[in-house]
């Protein structure tokens, strides 16, 4: 039997097992035994599905019988659960590795889904087998074992009484540093954990960095470390055993450590100085600069030019920016970041990470001088960064230009309000360069340039004395008409929407003619995302003009009812921008997201206008036939404007003529709704019956 059939069979059983009454049926059928056998299936899909079903069956069995009866650690187990657990316990034998792995996997998932009152009992039952496993030499399936222990530790009911801490400490202690990282991270991610175990786990993660720093003549913050983090020369030799091992271990350690700073329960005291020193040392080694020592030379030979390590280290450096550190180390961090941003050998991906990390470190560089008199390089770092950015925006590599523009956008959005930043940015040539990149041959870069220019304009950062080019708005609208690629056009509509939201933005005064151009361009754009973003712009404009249509916010009670009704006068600005000539045809767009967005927009508008608007006066309203003709044109995409230029009365008439609720229902259907419908099922059954040639009537 094909694996797909086995997998489907298990899925079928899973559906069946949603009902509590199915458990007895499954037990009688011997399905549990079969599922346990399928744990050894050659297909991974089958194994996973069988495992999930076993977990589900166990959870359901425990759930059905209510809270445990009898002694807390030795309660009365439901029969099905007991038999299943007995078989799983049997598999927890050191000798049977494949079964052991599968059993551990099932039990790990079982702990996450079993009813809370049963968790201590489950742990109490498994504990002897686990103890036996831990005594085995060598330690079998350490990672799966660690996962199970972590799952147990995450269960608050278990932790209170019989926490698995000792076992976790034992496993951590028995794992090689290169193997224990994932488990150590899991331990550190536990909100509650004994301090000693936390220190042990943190030590495992820190050990590779301790080795790195031990090759340096200057090792800051070593005294802050837990003893388990300090490895000997053996650890160093292990790290330097081969290039691939060294790179792999460091990458994993750096990536795991980068997850810790945001945790509220991160290890304390947090060795910020040590980590900064180590990351700087790693990054310097990658660039070929190392202290003079034999081990440093070997480390450098292993790491030089290694992009993977550079990326991971820069990520960690970025994560570490939530704290600062000793000023002299901040200086070093700024230096190494500048080195990476400036280095011609930095690959585009490394450069992007370096820019991101710089963004997080800039606020620290802005701090006041340290009491010792050391100037934190606020006034140096940013100008130098902008200098390098200027160069990077001229790079022949489009990825580099793109990353540079992204950095500029983020920096401008974060610090547009800061006078120093504004002054430095305007003094640099960066804004005009960004504007020049609107003509870049690469569409991604043009899109990023559009966003950057939009951000600079919003922040009022164009006011460079030498900049004679004025607002970039006209240029962007021209691009919207002419740019051959979709990415820049999407970006333009995104920027226009942002500007429209901003009451002081470039669109604040006389936006209607400009928006009319934008809606017209969006309406005929071949790219559906451009049209969808055009609808966002239309919605924003309606919000501005009607002042009532807002996005229904779940936290605000009945937003629409609180607002006064719109009258037809309020629709005049929208009509002048020819917004509805764009929105109504969009309702029948072949791309469903566009049609749905248009439908939602009109539904909101209808809610405002049909309930409260003044009744249209006779003579203003187009007759139903004309409305129908217009709808036909929009539906079929034919040319012609039966309604002429849309005026508010015509808009209201169309709104009334449309069955938007029905349309919304139709558009909400999935693309496979026809296949999944009962009708389709019936047709399938009929077809199957037809093939057999009899019992057609029974199908009804």
């Amino acid at each position: 039997m094909a694996p797909t059939v086995r997998s489907a069979w298990i899925q079928g059983l899973h559906s069946l097992a949603q009902h509590p009454g199915a458990l007895g049926f499954l037990a009688d059928l011997g399905a549990v035994d079969r599922l346990l056998t399928l744990q050894g299936d050659p297909s991974l899909f089958v194994v996973t599905a069988a495992g999930q079903l076993l977990v589900h069956v166990l959870g359901l069995a425990l759930h059905n019988c209510g809270p445990p009866c009898g002694p807390p650690l030795d309660p009365q187990w439901p029969l099905l659960a007991s038999s299943l657990l007995a078989q799983l316990e049997e598999a927890l034998q050191p000798a049977s590795t494949p079964q052991l792995l599968q059993a551990l996997g099932v039990l790990t998932n079982a702990f996450t889904s079993c009813p809370a009152p049963w968790a201590p009992a489950l742990w109490g039952r498994l504990r002897p087998a686990m103890t036996c496993l831990l005594e085995g030499q060598p330690l079998q399936a350490p990672h799966a074992l660690g996962d199970l222990l972590l799952a147990v530790a995450r269960s608050p009911e278990v932790v209170v009484d019989l926490g698995p801490w000792e076992m976790l400490a034992l496993v951590l202690g028995r794992l090689e540093p290169s193997q224990g990282g994932q488990l150590a991270l899991g331990v550190l991610q536990l909100p509650e954990c004994p301090q000693a175990l936390r220190a042990q786990a943190f030590g495992v993660l820190l050990q590779p960095l301790t080795c790195v720093l031990s090759t340096s003549t200057d090792a800051p913050g070593l005294q802050e470390l837990p003893p388990s983090a300090v490895g000997g020369s053996a650890s160093l030799d292990l790290l330097l055993a081969s290039r691939s091992a060294c790179v792999g271990l460091l990458c994993c350690a750096l990536a795991r450590l980068a997850l810790l700073p945001p945790l509220p329960w991160r290890p304390s005291p947090w060795p910020q100085a040590f980590l900064l020193g180590a990351v700087v040392a790693v990054l310097r080694s990658c660039n070929g600069h190392v202290p003079i020592s034999a081990a440093g030379g070997r480390l450098c030979a292993a790491l030089v030019g290694c992009e993977r390590v550079q990326r991971a280290a820069l990520d960690l450096l970025g994560a570490l920016a939530q704290d600062a550190g000793p000023p002299e180390l901040v200086l070093e961090v700024c230096g190494v970041l500048l080195e990476h941003v400036d280095s011609p050998d930095s690959s585009p991906t490394v450069l992007k990470k370096a820019f991101q990390a710089s963004l997080t470190w800039l606020p620290h560089a802005d701090k006041k001088p340290h009491p010792c008199g050391l100037q934190v390089p606020a006034q140096l770092f940013l100008p130098e960064l902008l200098q390098v950015l200027r160069k990077r925006l001229c790079s022949p590599s489009w990825e580099v230009r793109d990353s540079g523009l992204e950095f500029l956008t983020q920096a401008a959005s974060l610090w547009a309000g800061q006078a120093d930043f504004r002054q430095m940015l305007q003094a640099s040539e960066v804004p005009p360069l960004a504007r020049q990149l609107l003509r870049d041959p690469e569409s991604y870069v043009r899109a990023s340039a559009v966003i950057a220019v939009g951000q600079l304009s919003s922040g009022g950062l164009w006011a460079h004395p030498g900049d004679q080019q004025g607002s970039p708005l006209e240029g962007l609208l021209d691009m919207l008409d002419t740019d051959p690629d979709a990415f820049p056009r999407r970006a333009i509509l995104q920027v226009l929407t942002a500007w429209l939201r901003d009451t002081h933005g470039p669109l604040a005064a006389h936006p209607e003619p400009l928006l009319a151009r934008a809606f017209q361009a969006a309406g005929r754009d071949p790219d559906w995302e451009v049209r969808a973003r055009g609808l966002e712009l239309a919605r924003e404009f309606l919000v501005q003009t009607l002042g009532r249509i807002g996005v229904p916010c779940p936290y605000v009670p009945t937003p629409l009812l609180d607002t006064p009704p719109a009258d037809t006068q309020a629709l005049h600005p929208a009509c002048r921008t020819r917004l509805f000539e764009f929105v109504f045809p969009a309702l029948f767009d072949y791309d469903r997201p566009v049609a749905r967005a248009a439908c939602e927009l009109l539904l909101l508008l209808r809610a405002q206008t049909t309930t409260c608007a003044t009744p249209p006066q006779a003579g203003d309203t187009p007759d139903p036939a004309t409305v129908e003709a217009a709808l036909h044109c929009w539906r079929t995409g034919e040319a012609g404007r039966p309604l002429g230029e849309l005026v508010p009365q015509a808009v209201l008439a169309v709104l009334q003529a449309l069955d938007l609720d029905d349309l919304r229902g139709t558009l909400a259907d999935g693309s496979d709704h026809a296949e999944k419908s009962p009708l389709s099922l019936l047709q399938d059954m009929l077809a199957a019956a037809g093939a057999q040639g009899h019992n057609q009537v029974d199908c009804y």
Binding site: G288, S343, D345, C394, P396, E429
Partner: protein, 635 residues
């Protein structure tokens, strides 16, 4: 002789040769010794704290003392940069041999030499400085003049006549062409991927193979890719011409070049690129072709100024067979392989032989100027350094790695213009060398000592050295190194008629032997076995008889050749059958000794010899010999 490059770094010790009278350079103060002696003040000038020789620049020649270059039969040239000393060798040392090089190497090499000669000759300088070269005086001079080596051998530039004469001695070769050198070895040039026509060489006999890898590149630039496969199975691989800037990645440097160029021009500044007239400039122009539109530089003029600019740009387009595959395929479209043709057509790139003439009419700023010489000591670049050096808007971008840019700039200090160092050296770096050596697996690698240890300034960089097994053999300047192989075999051809006469006997399954009686004829290191002369018929002609005896050596009746081995046990049994008794056998390291105690005779049986030692009993010896021979085969 493998290559003959010219060390031009010696010119950095000299003052620049300005095309236009430079008051600054001509009014430099003379240098005097610490004791106030000013006898050198005409020869040495002080400029920005450095001392320069005020004379026509001189070049450091290849080593001429170690061997008599007139005994050199062949010079193999790897690329056009490695032939710049050729006129000194071919015209002044009594060299009478042949030089082998590919056609682009010769043509572009000629352009480089022509440019060099032109740069020097068009600014004649009457003064020639020689006092400072006196060893006793030299050691009193400040660095780097004090530390300059072999200054007495430094020579002025050659003339165009010498260039032409030297180039006439070159024989053109194509890639993979096999060239017999005196029958002794065969040499073959292979594409090295570094420059147009650049080659590595295979030097091989029938049983030995030496590869000479010089100036190679694995990057995808304009030349034909490097032929690595043919380097396999080498006994020795001589490795040289690795990148001079192993820490600079050429791609990153090209990015820096473009970015800095664009920034300068956008600010209204000019960009000066000191360069050779061929090589990296083709790649830079191609890169700029793709870049200038995106960077908004379409209206900025690019000038290429060199006496050979036109020839260089045109030559590059006609050497299609020496180009990489992409460029070759363009030729069949037909399109020019290099996009600089389009730059010229659209007037974005203009080229001039010098700053005089048309250039001064067309010159517009801001602009980008490519011109030589990269040493900044002669050529049109001197003029631009003087012209643009005072403005911080301008930038000089160094792309050639041959000269220290700081030393090159020394006589122009103080300098306001920005200096950017973007050395673009596409030759093999150490990582690429390691991969190459793993791929071709030579038995031995021989390379300069500098490649076997990290650079002195970065002694921790263990990755910046050749890493191979067994470790590379290194050599220093003027060191004589014996290559680690011996020529043990020669191939001998056998004439068909002689081969016909042979009757091989199978001595083992699959192995047949035949005795050959022939005359070994050796000429030009070719060895041929010819049939032996027929017995001389008595003739009446005295002359004829005389000639026959002269040509052919006497042929004696040859004893049969023996083969096989003697099984000791059977041999002893045979001896016993033939009446010998009291036989004792002793094992030795090389075989056995059969001792006939009664007869007081020893028979020493070894793998390749058998000796019968008896005491003047010839009869006994002959009897024993015959018994021994029974076990052996005869031819």
């Amino acid at each position: 002789m493998l290559d003959c490059g010219l060390d031009m770094t010696s010119t950095l010790n000299f003052l620049p040769l300005p095309l236009v009278q430079s008051p600054r350079l001509s009014n430099l103060p003379g240098w005097s010794l610490k004791d106030g002696s000013a006898f050198l003040d005409k020869e040495l000038k002080e400029c920005s704290g450095h001392v320069f020789v005020d004379s026509v620049p001189e070049f450091c020649l290849p080593e001429t003392e170690l061997i008599d270059l007139s005994t050199v039969d062949v010079i193999l040239i790897s690329n056009y940069h490695c032939m710049m000393a050729l006129p000194y060798i071919t015209e002044h040392t009594g060299f009478t041999g042949t030089v082998y090089a590919t056609e682009p190497t010769v043509q572009i090499g000629r352009l480089l030499m022509e440019e060099l000669v032109n740069f020097i000759e068009r600014v004649p300088k009457a003064q020639s400085a020689s006092l400072w070269k006196n060893k006793d005086i030299q050691r009193l001079l400040p660095s780097p003049l004090k530390d300059a080596v072999e200054v007495s051998t430094w020579r002025r530039c050659y003339s165009m006549q010498e260039v032409n004469s030297a180039l006439s001695k070159i024989q053109l070769v194509g890639y993979s062409q096999k060239i017999e050198l005196f029958g002794a070895v065969q040499v073959t040039p292979l594409s090295s991927g570094y420059a147009l026509g650049s080659s590595n060489w295979i030097i091989q006999s029938h049983y030995e193979k030496v590869s000479y890898v010089s100036g190679s590149s694995l990057l995808t630039t304009h030349p034909q890719p490097m032929d690595q496969a043919s380097l396999k199975n080498s006994d020795v691989l001589l490795l040289t011409g690795l990148t001079q800037i192993p820490t600079a990645n050429p791609d990153g440097m090209v990015g820096e070049f473009c970015s800095n160029l664009a920034l300068t021009v956008r600010n209204g500044g000019n960009v000066l690129v000191p360069c050779y007239p061929s090589g990296v400039i083709y790649d830079l122009l191609e890169c700029l072709y793709q870049y200038i539109d995106s960077a908004g530089l379409s209206n900025i003029p690019f000038y290429f100024i060199s006496p050979v600019a036109n020839s260089s740009l045109e030559f590059s387009q006609i050497f299609a067979e020496w180009l990489c595959h992409n460029k070759q395929s363009k030729v069949y479209l037909p399109e020019p392989p290099f996009p600089h043709a389009e730059l010229i057509q659209t007037n974005k790139l203009k080229h001039y032989p010098s700053i005089h003439g048309d250039f001064s009419n067309d010159f517009k700023q801001p602009c980008v100027v490519f011109t030589g010489h990269p040493s900044l000591r002669f050529g049109d670049v001197v003029h631009f350094m003087e012209l643009w050096g005072k403005s911080s808007l301008n930038t000089v971008i160094f792309t050639e790695p041959d000269f220290s840019y700081l030393e090159a700039l020394a006589p122009y200090q103080p300098l306001a213009m920005k200096c950017i160092y973007c050395p673009i050296d596409t030759r093999l770096n150490f990582i690429q060398v390691s991969k190459l050596l793993k791929e071709v697996q030579p038995l031995h690698v021989v390379c300069p000592e500098q490649y076997t240890q990290p650079p002195p300034t970065q002694s921790h960089r263990m990755d910046l050295m050749v890493d191979c097994q067994p470790p590379a053999m290194s050599y220093r300047r003027a060191e004589v190194l014996a290559l680690p192989f011996k020529r043990r075999y020669e191939k001998i051809e056998i004439m068909p008629e002689l081969a016909d006469s042979l009757v091989p006997m199978e001595i083992k399954p699959g192995i047949s032997l035949a005795t050959v009686s022939a005359v070994l004829h050796t000429k030009d290191n070719k060895h041929i076995l010819q049939p032996p002369p027929r017995p001389v018929q008595p003739t009446s002609g005295k002359k004829r008889k005389q000639r026959a005896t002269d040509d052919i050596p006497d042929c004696k009746v040859l004893k049969p050749l023996l083969s096989g081995s003697i099984p000791v046990e059977q041999f002893v049994q045979t001896l016993e059958k033939h009446g010998f008794s009291d036989i004792k056998v002793e094992d030795t390291a090389k075989g056995h000794i059969v001792l006939l105690q009664e007869a007081e005779t020893l028979i020493q049986i070894e793998e390749d010899s058998t000796h019968i030692i008896c005491d003047n009993d010839e009869m006994l010896r002959v009897r024993l010999r015959d018994l021994v021979l029974k076990f052996l085969q005869k031819f």
